[in-house]
């Protein structure tokens, strides 16, 4: 729970009780919660079969063009799908930082920008640097953003979490300013003709073109699935348990022998790398990178996506990211108000539903599924047993 001064036990017990109460309250209230319970009641093969259908539907999304959902004729539907995927991917990355490790990163767009610039500067004919094929820039972009993540994380993560918030907020602004004033980054002129993955269609035109969002969406969706599998494994591993321990109570985690600093830097670096990855994909599809796209408000949109979906829940992050990208493109009349809407959403969500649309489930991570079900079946267990479930999984 929150930090307290010294060994004051009473507020902590109170807070734990509050968490339990909130949990039971949300069980009563949320329709999503009931869905989650049913999902956990299914057997593994059933879960896989259901997931396959969802994934197939997700792949079919740009082709289906469902009448009510579609953003046409305002915005191209496949490209909207791609933008939703990019936001979802970035939200998955930011969710590692904010949701799992409980670190507030307000300059996530900076990592997105670094990834975009790396991809652009290594492929665009406008840049004087050495050129490599586009797909090779993706791992390079991830490595470079990871390096920046560590560079920024090491001085600030030793301290209390609040400093990280302001330093990342500053970093988000600084990257934009540096892109403007450093001549080699070309400011507003930017880099054109960013590279694209290889492959030509039957008529000789490239498969991955700037105007056709569908192949890009499929590429992004595939990458999201890979990242989800990797992040899901991390979440269930020793690393994920360490993150949750740090998020819930940093001091207690430290005392229990969790190398807090090391795992905080890892969370930050992994989050940064996923941000760089989504940035590289974004610049590839747009085909053009300049200093105008990476402003701090976009970072807040990413944060709103994570918080909206439910911090700590990777499925929630995907849905939140997709919603945040989708709403301004679908309802173009309110597109101008999007920063106001999502800024207000942050305040209101924190007041009324701090755990988002899909609250992260409290689970016994260490023993996984079987232990969870055993505890869940014991409906009226002693409160201490429930309070011990201070772990989160999807």
């Amino acid at each position: 729970m929150s930090t307290t001064d010294g060994p004051t036990l009473v507020p902590d017990a109170q807070a734990a009780q509050d968490a339990v109460n909130r949990e039971s309250a949300s069980k009563k209230a949320g329709p999503f919660q009931r869905f989650g319970d049913r999902w956990n009641g299914l057997r593994r093969p059933q879960q896989w079969a259901f997931l396959l259908i969802v994934v197939a539907l997700a792949y079919a999304l740009p082709v289906l063009d469902i009448p009510i959902l579609t953003t046409e004729p305002g915005n191209d539907w496949p490209i909207t799908c791609f933008n939703m995927a990019i936001f979802a991917l970035a939200a998955v990355g930011l969710n590692v930082v904010v949701g799992y490790a409980g670190l507030l990163d307000l300059g996530y767009v900076a990592f997105f920008a670094v990834g975009s610039y790396v991809a652009a500067m290594l492929t665009s004919p406008d840049s004087p640097f050495l050129h490599i094929p586009y797909l090779w820039t993706v791992p390079v972009a991830m490595a470079v953003t990871m390096f920046f993540g560590v560079l920024l994380g090491v001085p600030t993560l030793r301290l209390r979490g609040d400093y990280l918030a302001i330093v990342t907020l500053g970093f988000g602004e600084i990257v934009r300013i540096l892109a403007t004033i450093i001549p080699a980054m070309k400011g507003q002129v930017g880099f054109q003709n960013v590279g694209r993955p290889p492959g030509t269609a039957a008529d000789g035109s490239p498969v991955f073109s700037n105007s056709n969002g569908t192949p890009w969406y499929w590429l992004a969706l595939t990458i999201i699935i890979i990242v989800l599998l990797l992040v899901g494994n991390l979440e269930r591993s020793r690393v994920g348990r360490a993150w949750v321990a740090i998020r819930e109570d940093e001091d207690a985690a430290e005392i229990m022998g969790v190398p807090v600093f090391k795992y905080k830097v890892w969370a930050f670096a992994i989050g940064a790398a996923v941000g760089g990855l989504s940035g590289a994909l974004f610049s590839g599809q747009i085909g053009f990178v300049n200093n105008q796209k990476f402003d701090v408000p976009t970072s807040i949109l990413f944060l709103a996506a994570v918080v909206l979906g439910g911090a700590g829940n990777k499925v929630g992050a995907i849905i939140g990211g997709a919603i945040v990208a989708y709403i301004p493109l679908r309802f173009t009349a309110i597109a101008d108000y999007k920063y106001l809407i999502f800024g207000l959403a942050l305040v209101v969500l924190m007041l009324w539903r701090a755990r988002g649309l899909l609250p992260a489930r409290q689970r016994l991570l260490a023993y996984g599924r079987t232990a969870y079900q055993r505890v869940a079946n014991r409906d009226s267990g002693p409160p201490t047993a429930v309070a011990a479930e201070e772990g989160d999984a999807k």
């Binding site: 001085p155 301290l159 609040d162 330093v167 602004e173 106001l340 207000l344």
Partner: protein, 335 residues
């Protein structure tokens, strides 16, 4: 740091030029200007420092409290007939108008800070949520205010309101110090001394210190914690409103919906530099940051470097001495 990474790659343009000539030539004018900006940073930094002291919260929305003060001053001055060119009024009339603007700006900012506390932070405090919830609320509130202003006033800066033409007063090392610089620095220092005395001497100040040191014990000793927190927000707001007047005086066309944002980061950096939670540290940090930023700007030859330099200073301070130059004196540091 970026140059290190890219020095491996072929380069056409140079990344950073150090203009030593310009630095030596403009050293004194940069110093006086830096002190002027530093005084403004210091006043805004006080708001961050006080709230951080009593609530242990980075109040991200403080930059919006400041910009609301700027708008209050802008509307007052433009309705009093000030415009892009300095008005033709007697000295006493100008002083009177500026005082009215100052009061309006301070009240507007303080009202904003009060609303913020009552609407966003107090309901949250009742439930004792994790720290992250507070920070997200703060940034959300900052955004809400910023984009409400954006919707009402549009993306462009407001027309300039020039208050008076600075007149040279005296000469130091061949550089003229003008009346504007003297007014800003003097007024800021007087206000900060006042706040320092208020915190250290008055009854309310003792309450603020008590809450900063240990909120629970202070409550047990009969301190009304909620009232102290509101008072702290209001003091921060009043100072931000005063800073807004000096800011508009220095940069007449700087009133814009997102004008507070970067200044807020710099003011927070100043507060950390001096030692967050420390009232005197805010002034020292502000003045130092103003100087460093201005030196960096003339050395590197572009005004936008000021922000970069301020940010690098913030990271360096956190790396070397996280408690700042004067340490965290108002409340003891809490883990």
């Amino acid at each position: 740091m970026i140059s290190l990474l890219l020095s491996q790659l072929p380069m056409d343009d140079s990344w950073i030029n150090f203009d030593i000539q310009a630095f030596i030539q403009n050293f004194w004018s940069a110093t006086f200007d830096g002190l002027t900006f530093g005084a403004i940073y210091g006043l805004v930094a006080l708001g961050y420092t006080l709230v951080y002291g009593v609530l242990n919260l980075i109040n991200f929305a403080h930059s919006e409290v400041f910009i609301v003060g700027c708008y209050g001053i802008f509307f007052t001055l433009s309705s009093l007939g000030f415009g892009p060119s300095a008005p033709n009024l007697s000295v006493i009339a100008i002083i009177g108008d500026l005082l009215i603007a100052l009061v309006v700006g301070m009240l507007a900012a303080a009202a904003m800070a009060y609303i913020l506390e009552r609407v966003a932070y107090r309901p949250l405090r009742k439930r004792n949520p994790p720290r992250l919830v507070f920070l997200i609320t703060a940034i959300g509130a900052s955004f809400t205010i910023q984009y409400t202003i954006f919707l009402v006033r549009g993306p462009n800066p407001e027309p300039a309101v020039t208050m008076f033409i600075p007149t040279p007063v005296f000469d130091v090392f061949g550089t003229i110090v003008d009346s504007q610089q003297i007014i800003i620095v003097l007024a800021a220092v007087i206000m900060m001394v006042g706040v320092d005395q208020f915190i250290n001497r008055s009854r309310t100040g003792r309450g603020i210190r008590a809450v900063a040191q240990d909120p629970d014990t202070a409550t047990l000793m009969g301190v009304n914690r909620d009232r102290i927190i509101v008072t702290t927000f209001i003091i921060g707001g009043l100072l931000a409103g005063a800073a807004a007047l000096f800011y508009v005086m220095k940069i007449p066309s700087g009133v814009q919906y997102n004008g507070g944002f970067v200044l807020g980061i710099k003011a927070f950096a100043a507060a950390v530099l001096g030692g967050i939670g420390n009232v005197r540290g805010a002034l020292l940090g502000g003045l130092l940051l103003g100087l460093i930023g201005n030196y960096g700007q003339i050395l590197l030859g572009n005004s936008q470097w000021t922000d970069v330099v301020a940010f690098v200073v913030l990271v360096l301070v956190l790396l070397i001495k996280p408690t700042g130059i004067l340490g965290q004196s108002m409340g003891r540091s809490r883990a």
